[in-house]
Symmetry: C2
Subunit: 372 residues, 2 copies
Amino acid sequence: MTSKVTPWEVPAKIDYEKLVKEFGLEFFSALPVQFSKNMLFRRKIVFAHRDFARVASAVENRQPFVMMTGLMPSGKFHFGHKMVAEQMIFYQKLGAKVYITVADVEAYNSRIPDMGQLRTTAIEEYLMNYAALGLDLNKCDFYFQSMRSKDGKKSSAYYSLANMLARHATFNEFKAIYGDISPGKMASALLQASDMLHPQLPQFEGPLPVVVPVGCDQDPHLRIARDMSQRIKAFNFIQLSSTYHKFMPGLKGGKMSSSDPTSYIALTDTPEEASKKIMKYAFSGGRESLEEHRKKGGNPDIDVSFQMLKFALEQDDEKLNSVYNDYKAGKLLSGELKQIAIEKIVLFLKEHQQKMQKSRIAVEKFVEGQGF
Amino acid sequence: MTSKVTPWEVPAKIDYEKLVKEFGLEFFSALPVQFSKNMLFRRKIVFAHRDFARVASAVENRQPFVMMTGLMPSGKFHFGHKMVAEQMIFYQKLGAKVYITVADVEAYNSRIPDMGQLRTTAIEEYLMNYAALGLDLNKCDFYFQSMRSKDGKKSSAYYSLANMLARHATFNEFKAIYGDISPGKMASALLQASDMLHPQLPQFEGPLPVVVPVGCDQDPHLRIARDMSQRIKAFNFIQLSSTYHKFMPGLKGGKMSSSDPTSYIALTDTPEEASKKIMKYAFSGGRESLEEHRKKGGNPDIDVSFQMLKFALEQDDEKLNSVYNDYKAGKLLSGELKQIAIEKIVLFLKEHQQKMQKSRIAVEKFVEGQGF
């Protein structure tokens, strides 16, 4: 039995140590120096991995590798998504070819039957934000599950891999991961495995290290893709690498949910909306009374404003540490901590939304060029 | 409960009347005059249909329609396959665009894991024989399930249809047809439904009548494709049409089996091999003794030599009838009937194999042009 870790548990309750043991993951030991420049790795928000050594080695020796990830085109692009985007951009700068799949077939098969709406959301919400955050679209392979490539040999290879992988797993294996599996879920699951593995096909990059950064709830998907990749003899897949990041808490302390706008801050929220959301909803780690807070101190580990600084807004470790310590010591009040987060987020959103406007034309050109 | 009609039942035992009722098929009534020129329709070897009226109407009004069929690239091309090829050629001459899929993904997922071998068999056995029989390759859309098209939009549309159809059926529906279903069978089944339906996608012909000629054991595949086609709202599929042909008996009277060369005559068997096979194996409808045969007559309905004349070798209905009557009356002996079949088959194979040699270059050019 695996733990039931789902994104909607309260993050503070997740025992990541236990998870690593149960899933058979590993904590990072020595990483190439470049990784210390990345906040998510430095702060152990990206906290564990499988088979990361060959990716680290590719980075050190400047050898080709791929970073592969996906997006589910539903709802607004929020800070949870941003954390993944930051990893894309980081790996791209390290020299990775970045593969990004829009899981529109998966979305169609699970909830949203309007393919046109899925396409619009993917471009307007995700691609626009990626570009504004600094992703170089021209060095990406950004594609839709429903429309892989203008090149038919590439498209066919991608889809046929999914269909051939089907031979190499049982229903029980899929059921263990996906629960009550339907034909639609089955098709999506196979396509997801091909998303992860197809960069190594001869029609794409050929065998090379591929890293898939995921939340730790996603590990079962990795496991089945890894199993199938070693069973299929028609190709020589190098085993997948993966990294695991912690869950960014939702505004109210629970899960971040696309269907509940009070659970997240979207990167297209106006600075005013964002400020109000933090004031009104951000879960506080403070004490019941001012007096008690001054005396016993607050708990930054469950305070969402602090977590936002840690996950996204405060790049400077020293400053983050002093906020942490001040809050814990009762020197910093909850309202003051919220104010720090608000100032940071207002600044970020203003700049980011300007960048979005500036990158619109480039995104439109890219989309046109791809023929989506 | 549907009848368990499988290709390996003795054909004489199949009650086609009952089958038509149980499956909800229809016998042909009035057909356009062109169909009377086709031996398979005239002799009611193609004996029933679903929704054929719109195909008949397209033929009469010279409107576009598609004939779709598939081949499983295993073993030799034999007279059972020829019967399907004759239908392709007939429809092509009537103006149909002919779609032919090589079910290599299905073959991979069910038995033969060597994609290279599947490709070779499809070209050397099937395509070569199709061309020699008179199929105009340049008016076909001949493709592999694993490699749909050089055009990525077409490829993606074909595979994505399979993945989207998955949403519109349940596992129980697939189980009812495929029995103990595995992920591999599931993927193949969805691809097969897309084979039948994708000609109507905007990237291909758009909505139009599509006729799928099958053996009556294949009707469950048609039924599930028909059901899914009407449930999926993303496309406006015209309901599939289908025709049902009787089973050509195997040489020894039972099933024709690719794994048993004494059960069929391949179109690449030498005339000598073919003659020997008929002499040695062809199941006879004759009586135990010559005397009894002369007195009571033979049974042409179970005599394989006669069935070969009826299904393939004797184009002339009058001649076929006189053979039938003479045999039934005891005037024609079993050895004599075999001799008639042998003469016909020797003549056919000699001519056919010359045609195969002549069409080799055209086939190779076609294959090269398609980029298989």
